[in-house]
Amino acid sequence: MDVETLGAIGGAMSRAATPLALAAVGELVTEKAGVLNLGVEGMMLAGAVAAFAVTVATGNPLLGILAAMAAGMLLALLFGVLTLSLMANQVATGLALTIFGIGLSAFVGRDFVGTPLTALAPIHLPVLSDIPLIGPLIFGQDPLVYVTFVLVGGVSWFLMRSRAGLIVRAVGENHDAAHALGYDVIAIRYRAVLFGGAMGGLAGAYLSLVYTPMWVENMTAGRGWIALALVVFATWKPWRVLVGAYLFGGVTIVQLHIQGMGGAIPSQLLSMLPYLATIGVLVLISRDALRIRLNAPACIGKVFHPES
């Protein structure tokens, strides 16, 4: 393992981790408000296809990213109408949203299959990017990698330090009490669900514009489900979600390097490693059962009836 290899692993790790972290931090806010949206995969795909289509049409990736967030929010709005206003079961609706997202994105994107696109270039900061190991890892990434860190920090501050975040958590912990205090539970949950949709869409945009600049059907390949799992294993803590995402990305890349070097471990086992390592570490750092119970939003997935 020389410095250059480590740098390559570091760069690849942050690219693998970014879509997971984005989608997971969005879902975290949704769940903190007491809503469980299993449609992350569908929202990511909607974002991926919207980002790709708009970027190809306009040549402007920034518009593509905005379109992706709008597409994710649109699907999230649909989910919100069904679960919050019409009080449908959240688990079933979330699953349906994923199926819908897969089908819809395939339908919308069918003319874009096989269309190439140039990736968004990473920012190259002279001198800083050229520092061995640290350079490519910290200073040589594409903008969205940095945006992810800012977002995680922002969400962490919002939930833990701001009054509005406290209200969101209150709604997730006990919606009846929050309602009795005069907070509009449904309106607050709508906003949280929409934020989750925007982040899912942004994660999808990262896949179709930066990571693998193309549109192919179902290109998320299960990353939405990994993001969902990260939220739980990180016990609803934003920074732990980020750690989990980077751990998952890191182990994924390291096992590929071990394979390439001809390591004598069966590749099937190596492919399991990212999952095992991420779950293992997150369970270890969150092994205090009492604190997990305190962290899990008590009203998650429960339907709120304002009149009851």
Partner: protein
């Protein structure tokens, strides 16, 4: 996931079809296709669907085709095969290795329906098998890789360690070593047929480890795209991926099922269909190479063409003896070639491939 919706629709359509009574003499031949990936994968399933569309073009309203895409290999596949079989379909193509057992199981219960399973090795009275000798094409691209690599490290993004993939790696390595004995093949398994993100990660890893030519046996254009970005070379897989790497793609192994599908449907119409095995390669046109990259030197193109023609006329066999396995034991003595059934069940690396084959 999406298939379940399609499946419901298919089910509804089939029910409607059954309600209007059985087959009449002038009814079109009904042909069903089951794909492992989405038709929009730009790879394996995409090429099978090209074949399906060729049927529609060739037979017009004499044939009625439908397909279900992204079907999981396993129990899910059995349900879909059964749905086609029960729905009055005359011929069902199941186009992935993992559909083998479900196909045979359903075929036993529906002796009147004809089935064709791609890349498998089990047949029965109403199950035919077909595959393409991809390894022939892989030998040719191995030769091109050997003449192109400067770092003497060639990367290979692989899906699952099944015989079709293993024999492809081996043939590629043989072609490579025939012109460049010191070059090494590094293989990375992604344990997926289709995951653009993972394929990209594997390709980047191989490049970080010194590979300057990439080959792939996965279905998305991600590795070709990475090669283009990093300014190295690659070979497309299943379809021509030059759009994703105009400078990078030296050529691609293109699957071509069109003529085969047309022939088989014709046989069903004529009543001459038999449950046989078809295994065509470069000579039969089931495998062909995408146009060579203009940047390839003339002598490399010449050599590649000479090798291709030699495989077509039978004077060169990618697995001709003396052939040794990784441990150096001789498997095929000089003057003989590896038998077809041994190629179809290949689960060992030949001498010169790096790393351990996952079992």
């Amino acid at each position: 996931m999406r298939t379940s919706i399609i499946r419901m629709l298919v089910g509804a359509a089939l029910a409607a079809g059954l309600a209007t009574g059985g087959a009449q003499a002038d009814e079109p031949t009904k042909v069903g296709f089951i794909y492992v990936g989405p038709v929009g994968d730009f790879g394996w399933s995409h090429q099978h669907d090209q074949g399906r569309q060729a049927l529609e073009k060739a037979f017009g309203d004499k044939v009625k085709t439908s397909f279900v895409e992204s079907v999981q290999e396993g129990a899910d596949a059995e349900r879909v095969v059964r749905q086609f079989a029960a729905g009055g379909y005359d011929l069902v193509f199941t186009t992935s290795f993992g559909f083998m057992n479900p196909t045979l199981k359903v075929a036993q219960q529906f002796p009147k329906v004809k089935f064709e399973h791609a890349t498998g090795y089990k047949r029965s009275a109403n199950v035919a098998t077909y595959a393409a000798r991809f390894y022939e094409g892989r030998y040719v691209i191995g030769v091109i890789a050997g003449l192109t690599t400067k770092s003497k490290v060639v990367g290979y993004v692989a899906s699952f360690p099944i015989p079709e993939v293993v024999s492809g790696i081996n043939a590629f390595a043989r072609g490579l070593h025939s012109v460049n004995p010191e070059a090494q093949v590094k293989v990375i398994w992604v344990n997926s047929w289709y995951d653009p993100g993972k394929e990209r990660e594997a390709a980047e890893t191989l490049i970080a480890q010194g590979a300057d030519v990439l080959s792939q046996h996965t279905d998305s254009p991600a590795p070709v795209q990475v090669a283009e970005e990093k300014g190295i070379f690659a070979f497309g897989q299943a379809s021509d991926m030059s759009r994703f790497g105009p400078h990078a793609q030296l050529t691609a192994i293109v699957d071509n099922w069109n003529e085969y599908y047309i022939d088989r449907v014709k046989a069903v119409m004529d009543g001459t269909w038999k449950a046989e095995d078809t295994w065509g390669g470069l000579a039969a046109g089931m495998v062909h190479l995408a146009p060579y990259n203009a940047a390839l030197p003339a002598d490399v193109v010449e050599k590649a063409e000479a090798v291709r023609k030699a495989i077509v006329d039978g004077s060169l066999h990618p697995f001709a003896g003396p052939l040794k396995n990784q441990a150096g034991q001789e498997i095929v003595p000089a003057g003989q070639v590896l038998a077809d059934d041994k190629i179809l069940s290949m689960d060992w690396y030949i001498e010169g491939v790096q790393g351990q084959l996952p079992k």
